[in-house]
């Protein structure tokens, strides 16, 4: 066997082992809380020694946890809808007419700013600026904070879809056929970027729902989110906290399921229209 063949086989084996080890690690850390949510005693074996539904009962009865779930769902829903609307409008602006390269660069770079700055810095500053205002004690302060951190995800998704479908030509075509901006948006743009829209919405929802770093500083006490609940309960009772974590996992998986279903439906409709 030649040296190069041996090296090739070796590199293949190493990369497969790494792949397997990393997937195993991710499964382990992701699904330990799922099993833990049904554990009463779990100390010395691969699966819990004593199973229980008490953690789920705790989840459904504890007013603080229920309240936190409501807050998280509310804040994440508003964040995803508002952010997708804002960035859809900007992208329409970018593709409505010929814009200079600088306009594109300005939007691209300013959307990335939240990635450059630590979340805690933005959160602290938003807290200092808007606490004395009417935003202060409401959940809107957290919604606006989340709008900043989801922007790179939402923009990049929508922007790539807009480029893929050649939004500029589509708008031009619709308008030269006599459609106004509104009609063009509703009848031509929206049906075409439906997938991207839903995908961006899902990402925004997931990022907002899973955020702890901004919520920890900004959420008013009656709107403390699910991640804050997890943090507060973990050191009291790890299995109770696992039940809340299970909830977060279910919500993420359900959301992605729903989105996959919706986008399949949209795709079917798109194919029909094309026919």
């Amino acid at each position: 066997m030649k040296l190069s063949d041996a090296l090739y086989v070796f590199s293949k084996i190493v990369s497969y082992i790494t792949l397997f080890a990393i997937i195993a690690y991710i499964f382990l850390v992701s699904f330990v809380p799922v099993i833990g949510a049904f554990a009463l005693k779990w100390e010395f074996s691969i699966l819990p020694e004593v199973w229980t539904l008490n953690n789920i009962k705790f989840l459904l009865e504890d007013p603080f946890v229920l309240r936190s779930l409501y807050s998280s769902l509310l804040i994440a829903s508003i964040t995803s809808v508002v952010s997708v609307t804002i960035y859809l409008l900007v992208i329409m602006f970018l593709f409505l007419r010929e814009r200079s390269r600088w306009v594109h660069t300005f939007v691209e770079v300013s959307v990335l700013i939240p990635l450059m700055l630590p979340a805690i810095l933005i959160a602290l500053a938003i807290y200092e600026v808007y606490r004395p205002t009417m935003l202060g004690g409401t959940y809107w302060i957290l919604v606006f904070a989340h709008l900043t951190i989801v922007s790179p995800y939402v923009f990049r998704n929508l922007y790539s879809v807009a480029r893929m479908i050649d939004m500029k030509t589509l708008i031009e075509a619709a308008r030269s056929l006599g459609a106004g901006v509104l009609t063009a948006t509703y009848r031509v743009i929206l049906p075409n970027i439906y997938h991207g829209l839903i995908g961006a919405m899902l990402l925004a929802f997931a990022v907002s729902f899973g955020d702890f770093e901004m919520a920890n500083l900004l959420a008013p006490w009656q709107y403390r989110t699910v991640t804050i609940a997890i943090f507060q309960y973990f050191f009291k009772n790890a299995w109770n906290a696992s039940a809340i974590i299970l909830l977060v996992i279910i919500v993420s998986v359900l959301t992605s399921f729903l989105v996959a279903y919706l986008s399949r439906k949209a795709l079917a409709r798109y194919v029909e229209v094309v026919r």
Partner: protein, 285 residues
């Protein structure tokens, strides 16, 4: 009657103003305020460098900056290495399997870092399940060798989601790597190492640097995982900021100055990252 020019101008304004308002009120003004805060002290409104002097003359704060930088560098290096190996493995797999594995890798990115930290404590903490099993059946007490609630544990926790970012960024690079380039180099008589260092590395280098920077920025600016895993016992910049914002000691000026230290590192890196990203296809963000 509104002229067509005025009308199209109005449409432009309507389309772009929500974004501009968000940008001005929730990014520009807060950032300006945190710069202002870092350059003033609570007692007077005149500009001063006292916050920065306090940070740079305190061994404990300097140590926190050093810890954050070192841990983030180590996390980024490890996750870039693993991400590259994974991206290479992706090229060997069928597209269906690749997509399934990618969605598994995306899971920890969506989960809060908190969850990963807690899972690790449940698994290999001082009375974790794996720790107990190892101690009972093999007589080996893991925390003697590796304490998960330490900086090492933090690096391990970071890997779970950093690898997702780096491998997805790098898989675009690896998949677009032209195989005929390698074949050409080999058939022209280049050795394996020569091919790797002269042909493959120059092509994937921008991707590797981009992945490294991305992982570094995520590692240095987050605090959720660290708070859950190391808590008050760790000396990291972000944890020190959180301590300065507690009810007992609320010092937004010093906290802003500390946060500025992170921003001074991450902003130039993010600008380089943005340049590199144009050469690299794909990526989560």
């Amino acid at each position: 009657m509104v002229s067509p020019n005025t009308k199209s101008f109005l449409i432009d304004v309507l389309l772009v103003s929500p974004f501009l308002l968000l940008l001005v009120f929730f990014i520009a003004i807060p950032f300006a305020v945190s710069i202002y805060y870092s350059l003033t002290s609570g007692s007077s409104s005149s500009f001063t460098l006292s916050n920065f002097i306090q940070i740079y003359s305190s061994p404990s704060y300097l140590n926190s900056i050093q810890n954050s930088v070192v841990i983030s560098l180590e996390s980024a290096a490890l996750s870039t290495l693993f991400g590259a190996l994974l991206a290479y493995a992706f090229t060997l797999l069928s597209p269906t399997v690749r997509d399934i594995i990618r969605s598994v890798l995306l899971l920890p990115i969506i989960y809060p870092g908190l969850v990963i930290a807690f899972s690790l404590v449940i698994l290999i903490g001082t009375s974790g399940i794996l720790t107990n099993i190892l101690a009972k059946y093999f007589g080996f007490y893991l925390p003697d060798v590796f304490n998960v609630r330490s900086y090492g544990g933090l690096i391990l926790a970071y890997q779970s989601f950093l690898i997702g970012f780096t491998s997805i960024t790098l898989s675009g690079v690896f998949l677009s790597l032209d195989k005929s380039l390698i074949e050409a180099s080999r058939s022209l008589g280049a050795g394996v190492f020569q091919t790797i260092f002269r042909v493959v590395l120059p092509v994937i280098a921008p991707g590797l640097v981009a992945a490294f920077i991305q992982a570094f920025i995520i590692a240095i600016s987050g605090y959720g995982t660290a708070l859950a895993l190391v808590g008050g016992g760790g000396n990291l910049i972000t944890l020190r900021i959180i301590m300065l914002l507690s009810d007992v000691t609320y010092e937004p000026h010093l906290a802003s100055a500390l946060a500025m230290n992170i921003a001074m590192i991450t902003i130039p890196l993010a600008l380089i990252y943005n340049r590199l990203l144009k050469k690299v296809a794909g990526g989560v963000v």
